[in-house]
Amino acid sequence: MTSTQAPTDPVMLVYRIARAALVAGFVLAVSLVAIAVALVVITGDPIAGSTMDIGDLPAAVRDGDPSAVAELAILAVVLTPILTTLCVIAGFLRIGDRRYAAISVLVLVVLSASMVVALLR
């Protein structure tokens, strides 16, 4: 079998990778939200109106606390663009576009800085 496909813009590879990262984050977040809602129904415990300490999260998730799972879903949503940025950087490097890989690294640095600033306050 021979391929008749014409050459296309190599940046489309980055599009594919970015899209895959977004889909993965979306699926994870939706799954966690669904689990949180299911736990609310099963346990009868409502989702709390405030967040818990991030250090307490793993234990609360293990205990099947719907609030903890809901919080994990929120974190999954928030971290998805950061995962996507990492994938975009890898994609640009793969197609040899160092300039836009560097720009994407800068985006990641700024987003990471916002987290550091937020946690230090």
Partner: protein
């Protein structure tokens, strides 16, 4: 908040998600005033919830826009640098600011949005709708078109297919666009609205990016800006998981529908409808900023 209210909150969020995806605004511009006015949710908690919902809206909407190639990935990453930085600054200011100040800024932004949308509508002749184009397959997928442009000369040049036509464009005045994105970031951080409100007109009017590409690129960008916002609000304890989960469920549904409608409907035709809602919300926010009792607003819920 009882189950009925949470379901209603989800429905409102779904509506905001649909409109946000269609206009590339992120939905927060509708969500924050609706949450505070009709659900009595604390303004900071509404902004925090909106910021997370805007990220979700962006994630879902972008999966569709990337496939349709409405998103210009290189342009998005370039503009993102100042947007994310601005959002961090805006969020820190927003967390510390008085509620009336936020309402006043929100009202000003809504008025700007109304004027901007009406001006764009007047400036752009309404094109006759052509045949509906299916999503463009990605390279390597079955049905991938053989006649797409090869590597463009300018790396920021974007191309996509819309209603049977191949559209190719190169953004102009890029440095100005980068600067305005910083301002969009500040507003995004302060109000939890995503920033597309500034970015879409900036890209379409100033940078001469076609509206659908501007909306697609903005949808991708607002998620990144809102990450910075959500992080600052999360660390400040202004995230209410109950509200966020209801908003997320709505947005997941709404943002799936929005981009699909965008491909089939000339968004320009719906502008007057969106503007009417925004006028109502702007009046409400002006009254709140002036500490005047808003007759249709609900009292705040006690935690």
């Amino acid at each position: 908040m009882d189950l009925q209210e949470l379901v209603l909150l989800g429905v409102v969020s779904a509506g905001a998600g649909i409109v946000g995806s269609m206009l590339g605004l992120g939905g927060g511009i509708f969500m924050v005033p609706l949450f505070t006015l009709f659900f009595g949710i604390d303004q900071k908690a509404a902004i925090g919830a909106s910021a997370v919902a805007v990220v979700a809206n962006s994630v879902v909407g972008s999966t569709v826009h990337l496939r349709s190639r409405f998103t210009n990935l290189r342009l998005a990453m370039l503009l993102q640098v100042t947007t994310a930085a601005g959002a961090t600054v805006g969020a820190i200011v927003g967390v510390a600011a008085d509620q009336r100040v936020i309402s006043a800024v929100f009202a000003a932004v809504l008025v700007y949005a109304i004027v901007s949308m009406l001006a764009q509508r007047r400036a752009r002749p309404t094109a006759a709708p052509g045949p509906v184009a299916p999503p463009v397959p990605m390279p390597g997928e079955a049905g991938s078109p053989p006649d797409l442009p090869t590597v463009p000369v300018d790396p920021l040049t974007g191309h996509y297919r819309d209603r049977g036509q191949d559209i190719t464009y190169t953004p102009e005045r890029v440095p100005a666009g980068v600067g305005i994105s910083g301002l969009a970031g500040v507003l995004s951080g302060m109000l939890g609205i995503g920033g597309g409100l500034v970015q879409v007109p900036a890209m379409s009017v100033l940078m001469r990016v076609p509206v659908k590409a501007a909306a697609g690129t903005s949808t991708f960008m607002v998620g990144f800006a809102s990450v910075a916002t959500a992080t600052v609000y999360y660390a400040s304890g202004e995230i209410d998981p109950q509200v966020v989960v209801a908003a997320l469920l709505g947005v997941f549904v709404g943002s799936q529908i929005g981009p699909r409608i965008t491909r089939r409907v000339a968004t320009e035709r719906l502008v007057l409808f969106f503007v009417t809602i925004m006028v109502f919300l702007a009046i409400s926010m002006i009254l709140q900023a002036a500490a005047v009792d808003v007759p249709w607003a609900r009292e705040g819920t006690d935690e």
